[in-house]
Symmetry: C2
Subunit: 342 residues, 2 copies
C-alpha cells in the first residue's frame, strides 16, 4: 500500500502582510528590505520585527519581473560529467558565491546543434550573462550574442572579442611539455593530437613544432597521430601506431584523457611506462596523480579559469570593463617520464 501525504499548502506571505503588520506602506517595507532609501528608525524596527515574526522572504519571481533581471548566469558547457569541465564549474560556483547570481548550466557536448539549442535555452530563460566554455558555435554567432548580453568566452579565442576571452597559454604549455621530453634525451616523440578544428589542438601543435625545431629535429609525420581528446580515441590511435611499427621512445598526448587511453594500450602490449615509453599529458585532470604510474603533465588552471570567468562576467554585468589575463600553465613532473636510454 502506498500512502501519499498531501502536500502542505504553504500560505505565502507578501510584502503587504508585512506592511499591514508593521503599520507602514509596502513601499516602506521594500525600502528597508533593500536599503535603498533611509527610513525612520522606529518604522524600520517595526518592519524588521514583522519580517522576523512572519518569516517573510521576498518573492524572487516578482523581483525578477519588476527588475527585468533573472539573477542567473548561463553557463554553456560541453560536458557536465567530465572532471575537466567539473573543475571549471567549481571555479564558477566559487566566483558566483554570495553574488546573488546563480549558474544555470546547459550542455553542448561539442556538437553544434546541441550547442545552439542550449544557447537558445539561455536566451529564453533571460539569463543576465553568459559564460561559454569553448564549443563550436561560430565566431560570428558568438559576437552576435555578445552584442546583446554580457558574455565571457573561456578556453577559446573569438576574433574581435579578444577582450572577453579567457584563455591559457597553450603554445607555451605545449612547448614546455615537448622540451621536458627533449631534455630527457628523447628524440622520437609521438604527438597524440586532438581534433584540429579545436583551437587548443592547433595551438598545442604549434608548441610541439617549435620545440622540435629548436632542437633541430625535423618533424616526422609518422609520429603525429590523431585522436579526439577522449580516452577511447587515444587508445585507438596508439593501437594503430603500434601496428605500424614505427620507433618512438616518448609520447606527448594533448590531454590527459588520451594519455590514459594510450597508457592502456601500452600496458596491453607489454610496453612499460616509463621504462620503455615516457608519456606526458596535458590538463592535470584530477585522476592523473593516481594513475599507475602517476602521470607527468601540464597543469591547466581549470578552477582558476572558472573563477576568473565568473568574476569577469559579474563585472561586465555591472557595466565595468575587464582585463583578462592569459592564464599560465605549469609542468608537473611525476613518474611517467624518465631519461631515455637505448
Amino acid at each position: 500500500m502506498i500512502i501519499i501525504f498531501p502536500m502542505q499548502k504553504k500560505e505565502i506571505i507578501t510584502i503587504h502582510d508585512i506592511a499591514r503588520k508593521a503599520g507602514v506602506s509596502p513601499s516602506t517595507v521594500s525600502r528597508v528590505m533593500n536599503n535603498t532609501v533611509p527610513v525612520a528608525d522606529n518604522k524600520r524596527e517595526a518592519v524588521l520585527a514583522a519580517v522576523a515574526a512572519l518569516n517573510y522572504r521576498p518573492n524572487i519571481l516578482a523581483q525578477n519581473l519588476v527588475r527585468g533581471r533573472s539573477m542567473a548566469i548561463g553557463i554553456l558547457t560541453q560536458n557536465i560529467a567530465s572532471p575537466f569541465y567539473g573543475e571549471i564549474h567549481q571555479g564558477i560556483e566559487q566566483g558566483l558565491k554570495d553574488s546573488g547570481y546563480h549558474p544555470l548550466f546547459v550542455v553542448g557536448n561539442w556538437h553544434l546543434p546541441e550547442e545552439l539549442v542550449a544557447l537558445e535555452t539561455l536566451t529564453m530563460r533571460q539569463v543576465d550573462g553568459i559564460i561559454m566554455l569553448a564549443g563550436t558555435i561560430p565566431d560570428e554567432r558568438v559576437r552576435q550574442v555578445a552584442a546583446t548580453t554580457p558574455l565571457i568566452m573561456a578556453g577559446r579565442w573569438v576574433k574581435g572579442l579578444e577582450q572577453q576571452c579567457l584563455q591559457i597559454d597553450n603554445i607555451k604549455g605545449s612547448y614546455e611539455a615537448t622540451c621536458h621530453l627533449l631534455q630527457l634525451g628523447h628524440r622520437r616523440i609521438v604527438l597524440l593530437q586532438g581534433v584540429l578544428n579545436h583551437g587548443d589542438a592547433v595551438e598545442r601543435r604549434l608548441g610541439y613544432e617549435q620545440a622540435m625545431r629548436e632542437a633541430n629535429l625535423e618533424i616526422d609525420p609518422q609520429l603525429i597521430i590523431d585522436g579526439q581528446f577522449t580516452r577511447q580515441s587515444g587508445l585507438l590511435a596508439v593501437e594503430q601506431l603500434l601496428n605500424r611499427n614505427v620507433f618512438f621512445s616518448a609520447m606527448f598526448a594533448m590531454n590527459d584523457e588520451m594519455a590514459y587511453g594510450a597508457r592502456l594500450v601500452l600496458y596491453r602490449r607489454g610496453l612499460r611506462v616509463p621504462e620503455d615509453i615516457s608519456i606526458i599529458g596535458f590538463d592535470d585532470t584530477v585522476q592523473s596523480a593516481y594513475t599507475t604510474p602517476p602521470l607527468t603533465t601540464i597543469r591547466y588552471p581549470m578552477f582558476e579559469m572558472g573563477l576568473q570567468a565568473a568574476q569577469a562576467i559579474l563585472k561586465l554585468i555591472q557595466g565595468e570593463t575587464v582585463i583578462l589575463p592569459l592564464l599560465p600553465t605549469q609542468l608537473i613532473v611525476r613518474e611517467s617520464t624518465v631519461r631515455y636510454h637505448q
Copy 2:
C-alpha cells in the same frame, strides 16, 4: 587600448505588441501561445503570423510570477566535479529535457553547514521540486522539506519517506563483489570501507559480512580498514595496512575512487595487481575501464538513477504518485581480479 562596444539595447516586444499587430486582445494571444482554449482559426493564424513577424518570445519571468512556478528543479548535489555525481547529473539533464523545467545545481560537499545553505538557496529561489543526492541533512529536516515541496531523495534512505527514495541494492552488490573474490579462491579479503555514517557504507558492509559468513569464514577485524570514499583516503588506509604486515590476497574497496588510491600504494610497494593482489571496486566510474589494469567492479547505475529521479520529480510535481524501483547493480569483471594461487 581597450574598446568597449556599447551593449545593444534590445527593445522587448510584449504580448500587447502581438495583440495589436494581430488585431486581437492579449488574452487571445496568450490562449494561442498556450493552447489553453480554442481560438477561431483566422485569429489564430493572425496571431501566429504576428509572433513570427516580430519574433516574439514570451517573457519567462512574467510567466513565472503569474503562474507561481519557477520552472526550476533544485538539485542538491554533493560534488559538482566528480565523475560519479557527474553521471547522475547527466541522467537528470536527460530526464528533464523537453519538460520545460531546468535543473538548478547547488552543492553541499557532504558538509552539513554547506548543505543547509544550499537548501536555503533552493527554497529562496522557489524551485518547484527538489532532488537531493544523498548528503548529511538529517532525516527530520528532509521530511520537513518534503512536506512542502515535491522531493526525491536519490542514493539514500530517509525514514518515513521511503516512497520518495531512489536507491540501489547496496547489500546485493556488495555481496556479489565479495562472492566474486571468494569464488576465485580468495580467503583473506580486505574490506576497504567508507565512513560509516554514510548509509551506503553500512549496507555494503552488510553484504560483505553476509558473503563471508556464507563461506564459513570469520571476519578478521584486521582486514577491515577505514577510508572516506576518496582516492587519498584509500591510499592512506592501505599504506597503514601494509605497514601492519597482515596477509591478504584480495581487496574489496567500497568505491572505485578508494580502489585507485589502493592500487597506487600497491604499485609503489611493488605489489602487482592482479598477480599478487586482486582488487574489486564499486561504482564503475568512467575511469575504471582505463586504469591499469582495468578495474573489476560493481556497476552503480548512476545515469539511470539521475534519469529516474528526474522523471519521478516531474510526476510528483504533476501530483501523480510514483513507485520507485530498487535499482540493480551489476558485476563487471575486468582485469584486476584473478584466481588465487599461493
